[in-house]
Symmetry: C4
Subunit: 242 residues, 4 copies
């Protein structure tokens, strides 16, 4: 195990904490409208500190990487996040590691784990998407997503592809958030269907395998009987008076 | 079989009856607007009696359970239902046992049973969801679901994820009901797709297995012929004049 | 083959023709608004004659059936259609036999046949649903489906579960037609997904089977070599000076 | 390899270039509203030249084809495109060859390739559909898709089958484009679900195969032991003093 992997393993939990801190620093001012100015400033500082820690983590990993060019090429999103604070919502996906850690601790069947993982991801993405869309839509002209309740309802209606159209984003940024939620919703839908389908297939496989085994055993028994009959015939031939 | 299982098996049908009673006590006042006051009171009493019976059943099962803490932990929903009458629609899911009982009586292929079960669940959830949404939406400001016809139409449009948006819930409770219907709709959709997919896979499996069997038989015949040729050659060698 | 099966096989094409006739007698007055009265009357007579022929076919099959009660029980829809002219759109499903006949003529892989069948069914149901919804919606208060173009667009938007909500049925009958189209759309969607999934699975099966075969062949070759080595050792032992 | 196949292989890249040229000549005037007249004329000429090259390619392939009637029958879309300039958007599908070429270069697992192909096709169809719908909708009475931003948003909402209904085509041509996008969206959705499902199935297959192998090995070992025991018994019988 090289030093980069070792570093990444040791910092995993810390990065989740930093991501959660950033999430709070970003989401609380959006959700709590009547926040006093000092709290706003404190949360802003929290965001900045978390950003600085992400940057430091990126630089340390770059130094530790055996081949730096390959590291940069394979970690383009991380670099973009460090360089462009505008892409901050992307950072939030780091907090998904939390789900991953939990999923690794508990040893469940693959399908159950898939559904748990999908459920956790769906809830997390729905919450983050709701806050993000509320942040960019509130105050826009003709906007119809003005409260967190509307935003949560909208993200549910979007991720399930129901799409009533009573609430929808009208700004470019809101539509980008919507695109992410739609694609995530479709992928998650696919995982649910696939988990059920593979369960069905496995059930039928097992039944078919049992059938085949029975067939094979019968064939073997038949072969044994044939052999036995032959041996007996041979014996009787030998014992017959010559 | 321990006493808890035995109790649960013996009370199954009774619990369905109690659930149906509760369902009637809850749904009839919502659907029949011009109901006289005595009938309202009677139906309210029916609800209370069914609630009391559910509580009694919970307590009896708690007493019968070999390990009580484990029983409480694994039956959190049942406890919530007993403690918080506000969660009453959750109780209605018990009536689904009825579908289960029917599905167990009739011995059908797994896929057919899955589709029957899915169909029954979909119809039941759609009906309960329609009554629930009508209960919370009717009379709300700006509500557009005001009759049972609209509510049934809305729940169909929601569960199929079509989502025209001509009718949609505007209250928080209505949106919770909608969330349940959407997630149920997606899961049921997944089961239908999965049943068809596994049928296709099984069909191809069987064809492929037949092909493999034919191949194996051919190989066997070839081997037998080779052996025969060898034996004949040996015999002819022996019979040849030395 | 009993006489009922023989009758059903011989009348299949005729029943498609009668179904098509009924379809024309039902659809043309809906689509051609400025139709002169004599044409209306003629088309009405066409409907009546086709209905009479369906009734005659039902009675003949009832007479031919070996066990009449079982026949009645298994052909409830056909009986309903004969008894209740209001259910006439159900008859139209008979014309689907046409698709079936075509699908049986051409020998295609199961998946291709499934997709062709699904495509044909989708187009047919979409067309029939469009005419049916136009028939019941046109002229209703607040209706927004007033032309066949709108009706076709609506049925496409419904069957794909997109559901913009720019057009939607407002009458009870229109909503029943919509329910049929939605459920059909979902089932057809499931068949398409399932066909693709089973193709993927089969591809991987084949690769895995090839791998297994190679393994088995290697094992056989190894066994042969071991046997050969043993024989050679035996021979050398025999030839060794005693 | 006959001359037609050889021609088609050699002209593949050129046809992509011609398709891209046609695409530019068609899309740029739609997207750049304030284009000066000379640029309009130049782009129109580009379209005409590309059309002429497509026609020439069709004629050359017709001449090279071993059986011309069969060639015409199997290339109906190509003929239609050459005959009816109104079907020009269909030509654009040729540019999909670009995706195919890229997919063939890089050797990836079938599932990954399928998802890459699906992603590329989805993005390409979404872009082309957006331009096409903007072209036919802009300026129509009651149209609500008036900018490329709205068109892109609409095509995303359509292909994911969300269908808010805040934007939708109102012209017949726009609805045809929408039909294409909906069907494409459903097919692509099916591929994503199928890829996930087959991955699940394969995972379980592998586990089951490993189980079976272990079983088979155990059976073999048992058989060897039985055989060994028998040989030892035989030996001991021989060595026993007679």
């Amino acid at each position: 195990m090289d030093r980069l992997t070792s570093w990444e393993r040791r910092t995993r939990v810390a990065l989740i904490a930093i991501g959660t801190g950033f999430l709070l620093g970003w989401a609380v001012p959006v959700l709590a409208l009547g926040l006093p100015t000092p709290a706003h400033v404190a949360l802003w500082h929290l965001q900045v500190v978390c950003w600085a820690l992400f940057t430091a983590d990126y630089l340390i990993r770059l130094v530790l990487a055996p081949r730096r060019l390959s590291f940069v090429l394979r970690n383009v999103p991380a670099l973009l996040v460090v360089l462009l604070p505008l892409l901050r919502p992307l950072w939030l996906l780091r907090a998904l590691l939390l789900v991953q850690v939990v999923a690794e601790r508990v040893r469940l069947p693959l399908r159950v784990r898939a559904v748990v993982y999908v459920g956790g991801t769906a809830v997390f993405l729905g919450l983050v998407g709701s806050v993000a869309v509320l942040d960019v839509e509130r105050g826009a002209p003709d906007a119809n997503i003005e409260t967190i309740g509307d935003a949560l309802w909208w993200s549910l209606v979007t991720m399930t592809t129901v799409g009533y159209g009573d609430r929808f984003p009208v700004t470019g940024e809101g539509r980008l958030v919507a695109a992410g939620l739609m694609i995530a919703g479709i992928a998650l839908l696919g995982v649910v269907t696939a988990a059920i389908a593979s369960w069905f297939v496995e059930r039928f496989e097992r039944t078919a395998a049992a059938d085949r085994r029975t067939e094979a055993e019968l064939a073997q028994v038949t072969a044994e009987l044939v052999e036995l009959r032959r041996t007996v015939a041979e014996l009787s031939a030998r014992l017959a008076p010559r």
